[in-house]
């Protein structure tokens, strides 16, 4: 292990040479967080108001807790004299606020749980800002991350700890609840592939052999990548979760190409019933045999989208509860029904801004590892959004991926907030190096 990772040695100079200077103000962040707070309060007042036909003070409690949480994260960053990006955190907070409003709207009995997860996610965010002290250290343990990732990925397959919910075996029992290890896996794999590709970028890009116009990297260096592909396909077969497989694979084909997934997907379609069923439901959900069966959820989702129109039915005024499991699979349709095309567009724009900011952070990052890390992290959020929104809108087959920050679910919220913290850390490294804001 790395010696310099231990306790801070005494009498070291202030780590980033800012000793004696007053904490940095993060005014941009604060001013954006004000809007986030307003969003949370208005959303809760509208939803609770529609439910109880009154503006009770009860509706303010949850947004108040949320605002305190977000502000304490802000103060934490100031106290750390953190110099990273000031926009990503408010965007993530805004999406989380929308998520809380939607949980109150769609499954209010789960609200307390989701609020607790939000607080845990805030803690995980703060912890990721603090550790590891040196981000490059992440690259050094890449094989550990790959091993852990694979272990977590196959964990649901084991009989005692694994758990099948709604036909997908992607949960692991922990105490009374269950967590979705895939969510942690995506972080681990982005870190692994960033480190792997950094180390072997020269070997991988050297092209002695070609198939047609495509250069083929030396075989030994492709082994981990092909192995990952194999594992992804196995997971798809045994865990019955196509969405995770697609994302898992895309985590690195962002850099390497998509042919293998298509081939694998086609073979899986030919061989496995549940993959065929998913695709059939996607292609003809309105057919007599499907619209009240496996296509019911999708059909109701499409009705909800249509019902939303341009400006929506109004928060708390639609009928999204007709969609089964709407709070985790179909939050996008629910939001689009109640706030209309206008609201859906704003929501998607927030994800777009997230991706935009993430890619700028990646471009500015000083080392290849940090560049690949930031690009991979922001890309995975964008892709996850694309896969689930596309599924909700019947653009692509529906998968069990969660809408980042918004959909109900603790594992996803916690890992996504850790992801934001990592992006912030990458931007901090660049700002420190370049003397930026």
């Amino acid at each position: 292990m790395n010696k310099s990772q231990g306790a801070a040695p005494p009498a070291s100079p202030p780590r980033w040479g800012l000793g004696g200077i007053a904490p940095r103000s993060r005014f941009t962040e604060l001013s954006l967080l004000v809007w986030v707070g307003a969003l949370a309060v208005l959303g809760f007042v509208a939803v609770v108001g529609a439910e109880t036909s009154s503006f009770g003070s009860a509706s303010i409690l949850v947004p108040a807790i949320f605002i305190v949480l977000v502000l304490s994260l802000h103060v934490f960053l100031i106290a750390r004299r953190f110099r990273g990006d000031q926009v990503l955190m408010p965007i993530a907070a805004g999406l989380t606020a929308i998520g809380l409003v939607l949980v109150q709207r769609l499954a209010s009995d789960l609200l307390l749980q989701q609020l607790s997860w939000t607080i845990i996610a805030g803690g995980a965010f703060a912890a990721t800002i603090l550790i590891p002290r040196d981000l490059t250290a992440l690259a050094r343990f890449k094989w550990t991350w790959a091993f852990l990732g694979v272990l977590l990925l196959v964990a649901p397959l084991f009989p005692i700890i694994g758990r099948e919910i709604n036909g997908a075996r992607i949960w692991v029992k922990v105490g009374p609840g269950s967590i979705e290890p895939w969510e942690a896996v995506k972080l681990l794999l982005v870190i692994f592939f960033a480190a792997y590709l950094e180390e072997y970028r020269e070997v991988l890009s050297r092209s002695q052999r070609r198939i047609g116009p495509f250069p083929i990297p030396p075989i030994p260096y492709l082994v981990p990548i092909v192995a990952m592909w194999g594992i992804a396909m196995l997971v798809m077969i045994f865990e019955k979760d196509i969405g995770a497989t697609a994302l898992f694979f895309e985590a690195f084909y962002a850099v390497l190409g998509l042919a293998l997934l298509l081939v694998g997907g086609f073979v899986a379609y030919q061989l496995f019933g549940h993959v065929q069923a998913r695709v059939d439901t996607w292609l003809r959900p309105f057919d007599e045999d499907l619209r009240f069966g496996s296509g019911y959820q999708l059909v109701q989702g499409l009705y909800a989208l249509a019902n939303g129109g341009l400006f929506g039915a109004g928060l708390g005024n639609g009928m999204p509860d007709r969609i089964p499991v709407v709070w985790s699979d179909f939050v996008f349709d629910a939001f689009a029904e109640e706030t209309g095309f206008a609201g859906a567009l704003a929501l998607l724009t927030l994800y777009l801004l997230f991706l935009y900011r993430g890619m700028v952070i990646a471009l500015r990052a000083p080392t290849t590892f940090l560049q690949l890390l930031a690009a991979g992290l922001s890309f995975i959020i964008a892709l996850q959004t694309l896969v689930i929104v596309g599924g909700n809108a019947r653009l692509i087959p529906l998968t069990g991926i969660t809408l980042p920050f918004v959909a109900y679910g603790g594992s996803s919220l916690v890992t996504n907030w850790m992801l934001v913290a990592l992006l912030l850390r990458v931007s901090e490294v660049s700002n420190r190096m370049r003397g930026g804001p």
């Binding site: 208005l42 408010p90 040196d134 708390g316 500015r364």
Partner: protein, 145 residues
């Protein structure tokens, strides 16, 4: 009474959408401003310097070589480092040299034989002055502008 509540509720719903849009627009504005200032910073010349090889062994950089430094530089025996020191006495990932807040800093990355600055072992993160001699394995490098 009933009607006023309904009207108020619609007011809240519309306000929600309006605030959502204002938030999106403000975020976009903040992003553009951040990008602007970052580009202004990027246009400034970086405090770039060189490590000039003073003493070396076979296979490692030759004496007199000027190794350009970037903002962050991983130094070690591994091919994945920014500065590769091909000496068995150097660790795979030996040290980090970085430019932060207008100064150069060196940090040992858990090397087996330690990192030296002017002959003394680096204990934590230490400031590097121009002219300082950095010892990595059997190779000595001097920081120059």
């Amino acid at each position: 009474m009933e009607i006023t509540f309904a009207v108020l509720l619609w007011g809240v719903r519309i306000a929600f959408l309006v605030v959502l849009y204002l938030f999106v627009i403000r975020s976009f504005g903040a992003l553009q401003r951040a990008l602007g200032s970052e580009m202004a910073v990027a246009a400034r010349p970086l405090g770039i310097a060189f490590l000039v090889v003073q003493r070396s062994v076979r296979g490692a950089p030759r004496v007199g070589d000027r190794l350009p430094l970037r903002a962050v530089n991983a130094i070690g025996r591994d091919a994945g480092n920014d500065l590769v020191i091909n000496d068995e006495a150097a660790s795979a990932r030996h040290a980090l040299v970085e430019f932060a807040d207008g100064e150069w800093w060196v940090e040992d990355a858990g090397s087996t034989n330690g990192t030296l600055v002017n002959g003394e072992t680096v204990r934590s993160r230490e400031r590097l002055q121009y002219g300082d001699e950095l010892g990595i394995g059997r190779v000595a490098l001097r920081l120059e502008q």
